[in-house]
Amino acid sequence: MVPFIFLASSIFFPFNDNWIHIIDNVLYDYFFNSLVLALGVGFCTFIMGTVTAWLTSTFHFPFRKLISWLLLMPLSMPAYIIAITYVGIIDSFSFLPDIRNLPGAIFMISLVLYPYVYILARGAFLEQSKELYENAQILSASQLQIFLKVSIPMARPSIILGVTLAAMEALADFGTVEFLGVPTFTTGIFRTWFGMNDTVTAIQMSSLLLTIVFVFVFIEQYSRKKVRYDENIKTQSKLNYKIISNKNKFIVITICLLPLTFGFIIPFVQLIYWSFFLSNETWDNEFFQIVNNSIFLAFCSALIILIISVLVTYVKRLNPNSITNKFMQIITLGYAIPGPVVAIAVLIPFATFDNFINQVLISKFNYSIGLIFSGTFFILIFAYCIRFLTVSSRTIKSGLDSISLATDDAAKTLGANTQTILKKIHFPMLKTSLLSGFLIVFIDIMKELPLTSILRPFNFNTLSVKAFELASDEKIVDASNAAIMIVLAGIIPVVLITKNILGKRNKV
């Protein structure tokens, strides 16, 4: 909570002349571009994510299993890497349209973020019961009508969640929009901080951004306040995949392959080409040490974040009106704050606290313990929590929301206490959401850049830092090895989770 108070308190610092300059010259651009970027990414990820999720969860077609897990792969591609890669490709083929503009940025970011929507929507579609579809069919609804009128509305919380995450991440993005020449609120924040050396105004701008996001999220939540999305008629019977004609199979596969090809295959092949033919980087021990570091850090952090989110989400389910709950809503907006701002927002309070401890120790025992919190992994993992708690807690919450409160009540009548309900009912039912949450956070941390780079302890290098340093030094070719490893490391949890989601279906 402290970092948020810190951010919010910035509003009370005096506003200086730089604000006048910003309002007069650039604020409109920042605001317009950010808004269009967020809405555009929201829209594109919605289309790409829900359509692919629906096709892979409804129809039977060849390679369905393979395609449904490949569709997650673009998530592990850092957005700035895909942008630089595409610009590299476009430079070689002059007939391709230029992507160094706002639509290009929307397209690039959507290509790597639609899996947020895909994974959540797919989970929701698979949970939907057969009866609903049968009822719709009895009312002679077509497949398309079922998709638009039943599947999507029923999956609304999950889809909205995915779209919100994607839009928030787009808002906080720096590397991609900067490279593609699109000035946004976030580039403005850094321009004010780095260029004008005015941290106060930069933090005030972040607070403003956060407020705007808060308003949007609030409106969305308010609009479905009274609605609960659990199904009272839930039964064991899940949908069977629809058998479709060969022509339709072909169409379905083509549609699914589109985002996959653009978001993963093309850039990945280009990276491999660079890595094998042109890169000066070697696959030495130091490199594998970095791979180890990254996977270990991402795994531990994702696990810790998962545990915290489960706790948080439960507090919410058990006492929906508690104050903690309100605080949590604010904390989970952390996703829209640009990484470096999160970094200073956690750094300043913890460093102050560390200095206080050291002062006391020196005055009493003449001994200095060093920076216990701010100079260690503690602060890094704490910052990850701030940044990614949104993702995992909302993923879990959307899963939990689909378990009806009546189920809990029924269990209670049978004498089960809260713990038993958690172990015997919720945990098995939530397995998919838990794994999705873990997967998304793991991949996000693998490719996370600003927090890792600013807050890491000495001599601790990760793949994302290495890839970014090389890419920003205009050595994208040399960055290819690290980028490839980020993607490959992402495959491990993707395979795990897909086996789980698919396994569930196959048993029925």
């Binding site: 730089n18 300059h21 910003i22 010259n25 650039v26 610009v87 430079d91 070689s92 160094r100 503009n101 490279f179 020449g181 000035p183 580039t187 321009r191 780095f194 260029g195 004008m196 050396n197 005015d198 042109l278 531990c300 696990l303 810790i304 545990i307 470096p340 970094a343 200073i344 750094l347 300043i348 460093a351 102050t352 560390d354 200095n355 060093g370 920076l371 216990i372 701010s374 100079g375 260690t376 992994f377 503690f378 172990k423 015997k424 945990f427 098995p428 600003p450 780079s453 600013i454 890491r456 302890p457 000495f458 001599n459 601790f460 340093e469 090389l470 920003s472 030094d473 205009e474 050595k475």
Partner: protein, 346 residues
């Protein structure tokens, strides 16, 4: 199910314990030095490794954006583990100095060998290498190069013919800051406004993208740092070599103020706990061999005059540099950024 849940908790506990142990960093031992570097690991670590091997002093390194590192040193205060700050422009070192995060280097003997413009006027930092911002132009479309001065870029004949990256970039910011130092803010604003009107496209990409754009005839002139051109010329990617071969590099302002130069530099933090080691490290980075390394690896010019440069750099002969205002770049940076906002350099 109960079992897996228990196992999961147990594993989580293990992980947390491991983390708690890794949390405690190596307690300060006598022979180490802690470096916060805004210079990328690739372009500094090999030298730091050499230092470590030669002296036995362990070098601990964190790399990140200079501004973030300065903020980190500031908030860590007296307990900061950092001994050394390295940045890739003079302005950032100046900022750290003004925030009172650096200490004086005045009695460091090696400083005497460095020309005075490359040392902070209060001796709080010293430059390590020089980078020149200049132009490349299309060999095909500009046969006789008659662009002598940066001010020539404002001429109408270059309308829609100039490419440059975004003004978020520090290289552009310090270029404009140096113009403000030379010509004053009003004149610079007029000049830059006309240059911006001559842009062939909205600023995007990095310096290499600009060189490529010239090679592809999207524009005829690109404003770039000198070493990117050389890196492309020496690239093992045939496309890049081909692009670089289609352009020529020329140094501007050779008959007036000298070409705009910025530096990467180094300073010792105010609360350094390994002062002697930090001083040894700076001395090492300014010795002849280390200085020659910058030229060999990244085509940067060394600050030590006796250090040899690379053959390619050598072939350009002596370049007259705008050295006298390096010390002012930091002060003027904010004004430069606002100026670029006003004239619409995105």
């Amino acid at each position: 199910m109960q079992n897996t849940r228990f196992l999961k908790n147990y594993k989580a506990l293990q992980v947390i314990l491991i983390l708690i142990f890794t949390i405690y960093p190596s307690i300060t031992n006598a022979s180490e030095v802690n470096v916060y570097s805004g210079r990328k690991a690739k372009l500094i670590k090999p030298l730091l490794d050499q230092f470590q091997n030669q002296t036995g002093i362990k070098v601990n390194l964190v790399t990140a954006k200079s501004d973030a590192l300065i903020k980190r040193i500031e908030s860590e205060g007296k307990s900061s583990p950092a001994d050394i700050l390295i940045t890739v422009d003079a302005g950032r070192l100046d900022r750290a100095k003004k925030m009172d995060l650096l200490q004086s280097l005045s009695n460091l003997p090696v400083i005497k060998d460095i020309p005075k413009h490359y040392i902070d006027k209060d001796n709080k930092w010293v430059a390590l290498s020089k980078r020149i911002r200049t132009i490349v132009f299309s060999k095909e479309n500009i046969k006789n190069n008659y662009i002598k001065d940066f001010a020539d870029l404002a001429n109408e004949e270059w309308n829609q013919r100039i490419c440059v990256r975004s003004s978020n970039n520090i290289y552009n910011q310090s270029l404009v800051a140096s113009l403000i130092a030379n010509y004053g803010e009003k004149n610079t604003e007029k000049l830059i406004k006309r240059v911006v009107e001559n842009f062939a496209r909205k600023p995007s990409g990095n310096d290499r993208s600009q060189i490529k754009a010239v090679a592809k005839n999207e524009c005829d002139i690109a404003i770039v740092n000198h070493y990117y051109y050389l890196i492309m010329l020496q690239s093992n990617d045939a496309d890049q070599r081909e692009d670089a071969n289609k352009v020529s590099l020329t140094f501007l302002n050779q008959e007036s103020t000298g070409a705009h130069v910025n530096v990467s530099g180094i300073g010792i933090t105010k609360y350094s706990k390994n002062l002697e080691n930090a001083r040894k490290l700076i001395t090492f980075l300014l010795n002849k061999k280390s200085q020659e390394w910058y030229a060999a690896v990244n085509y940067e010019y060394p600050v030590l005059e006796s250090a040899k440069t690379n053959e390619l750099l050598e072939s350009w002969g002596k370049v007259i540099l705008d050295e006298k205002n390096i010390n002012q770049l930091g002060d003027l940076n904010s004004r430069a950024v606002k100026l670029m906002d006003r004239v619409g350099w995105k």
